[in-house]
């Protein structure tokens, strides 16, 4: 699956958790989910659960803390898809 396709799907996944929708207009790999997109930290687990369901993958316990940025989240998704 191409990185750009994952980025677009990830954008759809995080959309409900981003209150300031204009932030999604300039989504880049370096943007931090909490500090830049202003997603409440309590929702990070919700995003992980959405990703697991969307891609039918299991995000292992430690990977959640390697998903601080959009790019890192894409990287984890790519790696888990490759493991399937």
């Amino acid at each position: 699956m191409e990185k750009e396709a994952i980025r677009n799907e990830l954008k759809d996944i995080i959309d409900p958790y981003v209150m300031e929708k204009e932030l999604l207009g300039n989504l880049s790999d370096t943007m931090e989910l909490i500090n830049d997109l202003k997603i409440n930290s309590a929702n990070i687990v919700d995003i992980v659960l959405d990703i697991e369901e969307k891609y039918d993958i299991m995000i292992d316990d430690n990977s959640i803390n390697q998903m601080n940025t959009v790019g890192e989240a894409i990287g984890v998704i790519e790696a888990k898809i490759a493991e399937k």
Binding site: P16, Y17, I34, N40, S41, A42, N43, V45, D46, V48, L49, D61, N62, I64, N65, N68
Partner: protein, 189 residues
Amino acid sequence: MIGIDVVDLKDPTLKPRDRSHLRFISHRNENHNKFPERISDSQVYWIYWAAKEAVYKFHRLEDTFDPKLIEIQIQSVTSGPEVEITFKSEHAIGKVWIDDTKAIAIAYGLKSQPPIWELFDISNSKSSESAVLRELSVQYLSSNHEISVNFLDSKIPTLMDVKSKKTYAASLSHHKRYGAFATILDSGS
């Protein structure tokens, strides 16, 4: 130092939690079986989450919050209209209060004075939650503790007494309907 966290459990974007979700936030040394049956699995999750966030803020670090690195040991559980939990961590002690609508956790130093804290309803605020919460906190301290303070322009919340220029660690948290603020005034420097 002081840390506070509030979770609006009525936030519609929060998916239901059960004990399986503790895998995302658990420290390897934690025992999650210390709760009486009346505490739901969802509440157990949010008790740990809020306590860990509060301890993270207590440390006043700019590192990314990693709940798995913060060990929480439950000390006591008391039930009433809301459940009160006391806990300890490596360098902090604290309390969590939880009911069906919200979870609030406070962490403070083992030898510190009890914190001053307040919960606000910020659901009708027009400007940013952070700005509203800071304003409400300053008003609260002025009205209830007769101290005039301002927040310093810093990433980690710090109060300064307008007259004495003493500074105090503070902590802020907001989530949907709720905003929470805490400080320990005797710890000024």
